[in-house]
Symmetry: C2
Subunit: 109 residues, 2 copies
DNA sequence: TGAACATATGAACAACTGTTCAAATGATAT
DNA sequence: ATATCATTTGAACAGTTGTTCATATGTTCA
């Protein structure tokens, strides 16, 4: 760290969001950073699904799916409605789709 | 997993990307899921920077930054050029900005 | 009320990740 | 050559994360 960057750094610091927001951004993307959760979000792309259907689709425990849905829900990425015994989850936000779509583009071009 | 979803699942399975792609998507977002890396990418938003300037900006070890730059580089999110002793990093892709921008929107509205 | 179904929850364990530290590489100038 | 600066690298350690298992909650129907 020998040569001088003071002017550059001062300029950049002004354009940077707060540490808190940057932390929140990281936390948000962390949630997209898991294959199971990505699969769940993709499954809900078109329409809502109940927990046991998602579990069957992914070939995973209903408990595992439920844990992940909780994570997704607490980040406001999915929402749910109850109908009798069954609880249906759906995407709560168009951003979910556009974030995934951007990632998809980065990979496939 | 008692009630029947076979028709639903068959339909959804056709619209799902391959497991490999879904895995890659998760891996990509995993890289965005860390505050240090988010900060680095934000720092490079406008212009290239050398490693020690980034370290000074974030108040972190140059070694820690270097490790993270390696991660970012291997995912083709940043690229570098050498000029004498110094190595300058820059964003390698417009997707970086749009992915972050989408996350930002999700948080701030 | 009791049985069956759908989902949620908590604790525990293995696997993964980010930082640190010490040492190595690469480039420049004297 | 050697000293110095900029960066990279590898091993190690602490902290975090995802799944499993067992159990609890909530709903419906007989």
């Amino acid at each position: 760290m020998a040569h001088d960057h003071s002017t550059l750094l001062e300029h950049i610091r002004q354009d940077m969001p707060t540490d808190e927001l940057l932390q929140d951004l990281g936390d948000l993307f962390k949630i997209f950073g898991d294959t199971t959760r990505i699969k769940i979000m993709y499954a809900l792309y078109e329409d809502e699904m109940c927990v046991c259907a998602i579990a069957e689709l992914l070939g995973m425990t209903q408990s595992a799916i439920s844990h992940q849905l909780k994570t997704l829900k607490s980040a406001n990425l999915v929402a749910s409605r109850r109908s009798g015994k069954t609880i249906y989850y759906h995407l709560s936000d168009e951003h979910v789709k556009s974030i995934i779509a951007q990632g998809y583009e980065h990979l496939t071009e």
